[in-house]
């Protein structure tokens, strides 16, 4: 790259600038949303406030950031044999809460994007609940799907 040899400090400047201005954010899946054992024909609900079975992510950004939270949710769980089971998410099936002491949890609809400003801390958690509705003839077995959380700092 001849231009780089001619402008070595410019390249260094651009690299440092991009590195220092770019916002930092991290998302880690902490806990699966686990419905456990379910019985054909009987709906099973997991609350987002369930301390054991609700899904959980940890998000690390910077205090003062504005973030957009978007969940990509499955419509059905699938068993190894190909059987499927509906899974649905209600308007109050997600909770966001800062790790700051005394923070108030915010309940929101996981099917819609949510914007938050991180006032007291850059670290927060997203919890997810939902419900599965096995059919009366649902085939026994282990069913799984994936839920994706995307956090954008803007």
């Amino acid at each position: 790259m001849p231009w780089a040899r001619r402008f070595p400090f410019l390249v260094l400047f651009l690299t440092c600038t991009a590195g220092s201005l770019r916002a930092q954010v991290g998302v880690v899946g902490v806990r699966d949303l686990a419905f456990g054992n379910v019985i054909p024909g009987i709906q099973t609900i997991v609350s987002p406030s369930d301390p054991v079975r609700s899904g959980m992510w940890e998000v690390s950004a910077q205090q003062g950031d504005r973030v957009r939270v978007r969940l990509t949710l499955p419509a059905r769980l699938t068993a190894p044999g190909g059987s499927q089971m509906p899974v649905t998410f209600g308007n109050n099936d997600a909770i966001a809460v800062s790790d700051a002491p005394g923070a108030t949890p915010v309940t929101f609809n996981p099917r819609a994007s949510q914007n938050f400003r991180l006032v007291t801390s850059g670290r927060f958690f997203i919890f997810l609940g939902g419900r599965v509705t096995p059919a009366g003839t649902q085939a026994p077995g282990a069913y799984t799907a994936t839920a994706l959380l995307t956090v954008t700092v803007f």
């Binding site: 001849p2 231009w3 001619r6 402008f7 410019l10 651009l14 600038t17 991009a18 201005l21 770019r22 916002a23 930092q24 954010v25 991290g26 998302v27 880690v28 899946g29 902490v30 806990r31 699966d32 949303l33 686990a34 419905f35 456990g36 054992n37 379910v38 019985i39 054909p40 099973t44 899904g55 959980m56 992510w57 998000v59 499955p74 769980l77 068993a79 089971m85 899974v87 997810l128 939902g130 599965v132 096995p134 649902q138 085939a139 026994p140 077995g141 282990a142 069913y143 799984t144 799907a145 994936t146 839920a147 994706l148 959380l149 995307t150 956090v151 954008t152 700092v153 803007f154």
Partner: protein
């Protein structure tokens, strides 16, 4: 000049990156569909005739032990809990019953795993065919002046995954 255009394009690219970032994380959503559990009282725990002042015991391994037949998912862990009477009754008369013993097996013979029946959970595992057999015994202790008659009580077994 060409070099400057390249630098300008890179600069624009860097600036568009600056100030925004996103990250993603996944979790699994899981559920296990199980066969519904059925519990059937298959055989009463029957002490037969007992004598005033003489305790009578039927152990869980005895052929006369009470028996529950359970069906559910194959080769699956379950938890058993019991509601046990403290007395058998005959009208207003009580016949104390206690010292409960238990035995569970994947076949219909009381030669499996011993346990003490209680209101707490006892773990067991169904057979490859989804069967579980639970046997229960106890001791009745009639008083020396125990009123004569037929005494009965109810034992309830609850099984969950």
């Amino acid at each position: 000049m060409r070099s400057m255009k390249t630098v300008s394009a890179l600069l624009a690219g860097f600036l568009s990156l600056a100030g925004t970032a996103n990250a993603q994380g996944t979790i699994n959503v899981t559920a296990t569909v199980q066969v519904p559990i059925t519990v059937t009282g298959a055989q009463d725990l029957n002490f037969g005739n007992v004598i005033q002042g003489v305790p009578s015991t039927i152990d869980a391994t005895n052929a006369a032990a009470g028996r529950f037949d359970v069906t559910g998912s194959p080769s699956t862990g379950v938890n058993m809990s019991f509601t046990l009477p403290a007395n058998l009754t005959n009208g207003g008369n009580n016949l104390p019953i206690g010292s409960w013993t238990g035995n569970w097996n994947t076949t219909a013979t009381p030669t499996g795993t011993g346990f003490t029946p209680s209101g707490g959970n006892t773990a067991a595992t169904t057979s490859a065919g989804g069967n579980l057999f639970v046997f229960i015994g106890a001791t009745v202790s009639p008083g020396a002046a125990q009123a004569l008659g037929a005494y009965t009580g109810t034992v309830t077994l609850t099984v969950i995954y």
